[in-house]
């Protein structure tokens, strides 16, 4: 047991920002727009750090796939308590077409490389709302998955999980190694305190390319058009 946890963090447009569609309808405006860590990824990082504080795991590695700016997101994870970071450099056209399938292939390759015991992800990203990366990663690795987790506890080499599902709360027990995706009520992410922010500057972030991991990031999906939803008409009483 390596006691290592891989946490995936995604850089997304800040949820408080008003989204604008590009004039050519090929996507949304991202230039100059405030970006931050996906809220569900924050919850995943917080859970990983909590497990480390309880001494149930030994190391938290933050991973992000994207352009140079993704390193800021990794730094935020480091400031919250992660030990080191891996930046998978995907930029330009490849980044625009990066979807859950490619990311899950990357995470699976990294998990094998780093000998991870646990992968913690957010349940979905707030920009695409796919809710697929966790599930696909587990399938590629043939690991058990505990998705929509609202409570996680480690018991020896098994994990007790409470899942939030439509019918209520489901209690399951899964083996490790496993993939867990965090739901909203798992925890409340901490504020990164100054001493940790200072320490984070010194923590290492390693950059790798998808090709180094043997992953092909070409997408089999093509975005045809992006439109704004129809304007709300005034109601009538």
């Amino acid at each position: 047991m390596s006691g290592r946890v891989l946490v995936g963090v995604k850089r997304v447009i800040d949820y408080a920002v008003k989204i604008r569609v590009k004039p050519d309808n090929t996507g949304v405006v991202t230039d100059g727009v405030k970006h931050s860590m996906n809220p569900f990824c924050e919850i995943a990082v917080e859970e990983a750090v909590k497990l480390k504080e309880k001494k149930l795991i030994k190391e938290v590695v933050a991973v992000s796939c994207g352009p140079q700016q993704s390193q800021e997101t990794i730094r935020t994870a480091l400031a919250m308590g992660a030990d080191r970071g891996i930046h998978v450099d995907v930029s330009g056209k490849d980044y625009e077409n990066l979807g859950p399938l490619q990311v899950s292939k990357i995470l699976a390759a990294l998990a094998k490389q780093e000998d991870a015991q646990l992968i913690l992800l957010g349940k979905q990203a707030i920009d695409d709302d796919c809710n697929q990366t966790g599930q696909m990663t587990a399938a590629l690795l043939d690991w058990p998955q505990g998705t929509f987790a609202s409570e996680v506890s480690l018991e020896g080499d098994k994990i007790n999980l409470v899942r939030e599902i439509d019918g209520g709360l489901e209690h399951i027990k899964i083996n490790t190694p496993a993939v867990i995706t965090a739901d909203l009520r798992l925890n409340t992410p901490r504020y990164a305190t100054l001493p940790n922010i200072m320490k984070a500057k010194k923590k290492k972030i390693v950059t790798v390319k998808p090709a180094d991991l043997g992953v092909d990031v070409t997408s089999r999906l093509e975005v045809l058009k992006v439109e704004e939803p129809p304007q709300r008409q005034a109601g009538r009483v």
Partner: protein, 583 residues
């Protein structure tokens, strides 16, 4: 017709109440009526008829009504029954108990003065208003009531008329008429003032600017915004943010306060440190004077040295010299990079050293420097369930930086934080760059006022002091009050030398008030500070002006008021002390 019936029934109600006070009876008027009415109903009817005749007679004379002596803070309808001359002294004594000193004899300087001899609103007046403002002359008591009470729910007037003009022309017509009829007018914006200046004291007509909410022009090159006085500050902020600009002022009340009111009270707020006061950012005003004259000083020029700068007189005049109807204000560009830092310090000296370090290392990107003490944090945790983002410390600082280059600002901030931590000026802290976290950290400072309202009755003091002495007042006040107060908190714009000192008690406590005032004002005067840094004087602090201004200065203010508003109809009983002769 209905309005008259309502007034009559109120009169009967209060006549009975006064009879009860004389007889020291404690049963309610309706019970009294049931007990007394069957045998003496004719007597009551006769009394009522006589009362009405006397009242109408007095009204026509518009004579000085010696008998309306209620304080604005107590009754929903003021006692103006003219027929019980002999018992008015007892009424006087009972209604003034609220702000009396501990010995019960003196009247507190913050209590309302006697009603000045303005005329009362008649049906003909209402007909005139209805002709100018069709559908916007409000006399329904339920609709007028919210405008009669201030945000703190500490003062209540008894106005019966609420006017809502939409144009400057309408305001001009209203004021010209009221001036000729000698009717008092209370201009009202968002009604978020904290010194009782925005609500009537007696039956002044409320002139609301709420419907004057049009943005007239925005010049995106110079950044000058011209708008009507009733625009809500937050709406102006949203409008500007879409165009990459921001308002030069920001305060906790932004969701309700209006720009006209902000200018009339020279509001300060959270951004004063960076963008300066309204005296600098307001470029022009359009006003209506007491006699209805429209004064158009609505320039959008940055520099204009032609004659006396009249608008400066009206900025901060609290509605007593003229009614502001339009504002042109210089707006700064929206910063591309905003960072908020929340720090914890062990002592106030460290806090001040942090401030000096901040100014030297952050320099031009510093846009706010606020503080709150551990008592404030306790109230936020208890009443609003807001968690402390860092560990518990005696003092907390909120620092905001705004700049045009995120990398440059982040580097400066990093250097500053490293220095602050290594020299142990700061014991803990956190940084936010994301919108949501920034809002969360700011709410810790902005919602202290709200938390205080949940703690009990709040006595608010807004003091300007030399920066080194700011917290000394809080510690001295705590020692002075001891167990009499529930909480004594200090927070505020320490960067501007402005302390918000608040004392809470479970309920209104005249003995506590007597202990706080004039101690707090004398303490302030001893440091040559200001007894009202940004809240203004309004009703509550008008008589304390002498703690911060020389009597010659105040006399000159009185002369200016007399010149611009000879009949004194604009926002009477406010801002200037009672001992100045108005009329």
């Amino acid at each position: 017709m209905t309005r008259d019936k309502i007034t009559r029934s109120f009169q009967l109600h209060y006549k009975i109440k006064m009879l009860l006070k004389i007889s020291n009876s404690s049963c309610c008027p309706t019970c009294f009526l049931q007990l007394v009415l069957p045998p003496v109903s004719t007597v009551m009817a006769g009394l009522l008829k006589r009362a009405l005749r006397l009242r109408t007679a007095l009204r026509c004379l518009c004579d000085y009504n010696m008998l309306s002596r209620s304080t604005a803070t107590l009754s929903p309808v003021d006692f103006h029954s003219p027929f019980l001359t002999c018992s008015s002294e007892q009424v006087l004594a009972s209604t003034r108990k609220l702000h009396a000193g501990a010995d019960g004899s003196k009247v507190s300087p913050s209590a309302a003065p006697e009603r000045l001899p303005f005329c009362r609103v008649t049906e003909e007046d209402l007909a005139f208003f209805r002709k100018i403002l069709a559908g916007r002359t409000i006399v329904d008591p339920d609709l007028v009531e919210p405008s009669n009470v201030d945000w703190l729910k500490s003062v209540r007037g008894s106005s019966e008329v609420l006017l809502r003009p939409q144009t400057t022309e309408e305001v001009s017509q209203i004021l010209s008429y009221c001036n000729s009829r000698n009717l008092a007018v209370n201009p009202q914006g968002g009604n978020t003032g904290l010194v009782g200046g925005s609500v009537p004291v007696y039956d002044e007509i409320i002139l609301s600017t709420s419907l004057m909410n049009k943005i007239l022009n925005f010049d995106s090159i110079s950044g000058v915004l011209t708008c009507q006085a009733g625009c809500v500050l937050e709406n102006l902020s949203f409008y500007l943010e879409e165009r990459d600009y921001i308002m030069p002022l920001d305060l906790g009340a932004k969701g309700s306060c209006q720009i006209g009111g902000n200018v009339a009270t020279n509001a300060g707020g959270l951004r004063l440190l960076r963008y300066g006061s309204l005296h600098g950012t307001v470029l022009g005003l359009e006003l209506v004077l007491a006699d209805g004259q429209v004064l158009d000083c609505l320039s959008t020029l940055r520099k204009d040295n032609t004659g006396y700068d009249l608008k400066q007189l009206f900025i901060g005049s609290e509605g007593t010299l003229g009614v502001i109807t339009a504002v042109s204000i210089l707006c700064p560009r929206k910063p591309k990079s905003v960072n908020v830092v929340f720090l914890g310090c062990e002592t106030f000296e460290q806090l001040l050293k942090t401030f000096q370090l901040c100014k030297s290392m952050l320099g031009e990107i510093l846009s706010a420097f606020e503080f709150l003490d551990s008592e404030c944090m306790r109230l936020l945790n208890t009443h609003l369930k807001l968690p402390n983002p860092i560990s518990d410390c005696p003092f907390y600082i909120v620092i905001e930086t705004s700049g045009s280059d995120p990398t440059h600002d982040a580097q400066k901030l990093h250097n500053f934080l490293e220095e602050a931590m290594t020299s142990s000026l700061v014991s803990d802290g956190t940084v936010a760059t994301e919108e949501a976290k920034i809002k969360a950290l700011w709410s810790l400072r902005e919602r202290v006022t709200e938390a205080l309202t949940h703690d009990g009755f709040t006595y608010k003091y807004d003091i300007s002091l030399p920066v080194e002495r700011i917290y000394q007042l809080v510690t001295d006040m705590r020692k002075h009050l001891g167990n009499r107060a529930k909480s004594v908190v200090g927070y505020g714009h320490v960067g501007d030398g402005n302390l918000h000192l608040n004392v809470t008690s479970p309920s209104k406590d005249p003995a506590l008030l007597a202990a706080i005032e004039p101690f707090v004002y004398e303490w302030t005067a001893s440091c040559r500070g200001s007894i009202s840094a940004e809240h203004g004087l309004g009703l509550k602090k008008r008589n304390y002006i002498y703690y911060s201004k020389q009597s010659q200065a105040v006399a000159l203010m009185g002369n200016i008021k007399a010149m611009l508003d000879p009949k004194g109809i604009l926002n009477p009983y406010k801002t200037l002390p009672d001992n100045l002769k108005h009329i």
